[in-house]
Symmetry: C2
Subunit: 246 residues, 2 copies
């Protein structure tokens, strides 16, 4: 499909175009970035993988009654979405202690948390997405108390849906990051749900105490292009239920 | 006064002894530490300054109906307090954007916040007192939801009392850190309130846009021993209302 000439916004993982009817086109890039952009590489067809997985998972949560920005996947790599006013607060939900949480707090890597933990981060590249709490959200005017409550509610609901779905695919959903946007008086789930924005472990290995994961962590940890490709292949297989055709 | 032989606990700023009747003795040290203990020095009589200021301010908030651990100041440098079960959560309240808040968030140094911001930190030297939110407090079992609500309530109440008091002394209370302990089914304000645990600016200079402060920040910023002494002298004069006699 021919893309509009004018780019509306370009981020690390996607380029956004505005359609004439007001909807947006999200072109998923093949770039892999990590460590706050210090680490950068490409994975052939990554944009196709991630767009297909995002559309698949957004449909899944939409079917469960969670409003999302998805209109349709136009073709692998290109998704049409509603134009929403993005709230610059990233909501991270954790079911398992990993990553920064384990480095910061007295928790063992790979331990299941007694109940989900939600953390908020300010979407601000220049400030490296700092952690924020409800008070910071308020004084920075990022969202109303009601919106923050709704973000928590929707994030927990998304977790309920994905946790079950991933479990049925032999995966443990350790954590994920969501973004929300304002649309017609309510909030809708926006952005992507991909191995770039979540950590997923093989369930069988996890039960044996081994963390085998199929997500961008492989890249952060310095995995080879083949290792990264294998991880995204397996994530695609489990999530979408078919062999990646790209 | 003769101190018990056995030290119950020694921190960076105080040594704690247990009395025979079950109360505790807090011996305030003359040590100055900053940058997570990397920076270390001494200020003669600092323990005396800080104990007198703490007792003065704890009495002030106690008179306003906030329960505290204070029994009495036995002599400059030595305070008798009730034995409480310390909750390992530091509550930081900010009225003015300074320090780490300004480095982390899009806020100007010295700008008044539209309303107070409370941040929580885990009291854990080995982990460098990491930030935590309500969910972390819950899953780490640090405090109940009710206790956290009470900590917020008491912290805001302390702020109301101190903000007015400091204003009457020509000072702007920019931020401070509190600790709380369990005692007889309620929480009480514990620890110290000193230029080590708060940032206070001269109000007249502040209104002119200049940040002149009388607290440990002078030490963090590499001030000379004379500059540090002058800052604590001025804090003492304003808070206690008399010339430091040490």
């Amino acid at each position: 499909m021919k893309l509009p000439d004018k780019v509306m916004k370009e981020g690390k993982a996607k380029v956004i175009y505005e359609k004439e009817d007001g909807n947006l086109l999200m072109k998923f890039k093949d770039d892999l970035t990590a460590l706050d952009g210090l680490k950068h590489d490409q994975m052939p067809s990554k944009g196709k993988y991630n767009s297909v997985m995002t559309a698949h998972l957004l449909k899944l949560v939409a079917d469960a009654g969670i409003p999302t920005h998805l209109v349709s996947l136009l073709e692998p790599g290109l998704m049409e979405v509603k134009k929403v006013e993005i709230i610059p607060v990233e909501a991270v939900l954790r079911n398992v202690a990993t990553g920064s949480m384990v480095r910061r707090l007295p928790l063992e890597a790979g331990s299941r948390l007694p109940s989900p933990v939600i953390e908020f981060y300010l979407k601000d590249d220049a400030l490296h997405d700092p952690w924020i709490n409800d008070d910071h959200v308020r004084i920075l005017g990022l969202a109303t108390a009601e919106e923050l409550k709704r973000i928590r509610e929707l994030t927990l609901k998304v977790n309920d849906v994905l946790l079950d779905y991933f479990a049925s695919k032999g995966l443990v959903l350790a954590d994920f990051k969501l973004e929300f946007g304002r649309l017609g008086g309510d909030l809708v789930l926006a952005d992507e749900i991909t191995p770039d924005t979540m950590r997923i472990f093989d369930a069988k290995e996890f039960e044996k105490g081994r963390l085998v994961e199929y997500d961008k962590q492989i890249f952060r940890d310095g995995g080879s292009p083949e290792d990264i490709k294998a991880a995204y292949d397996e994530a695609f297989r489990r999530i979408v239920g078919e062999e990646p055709p790209f």
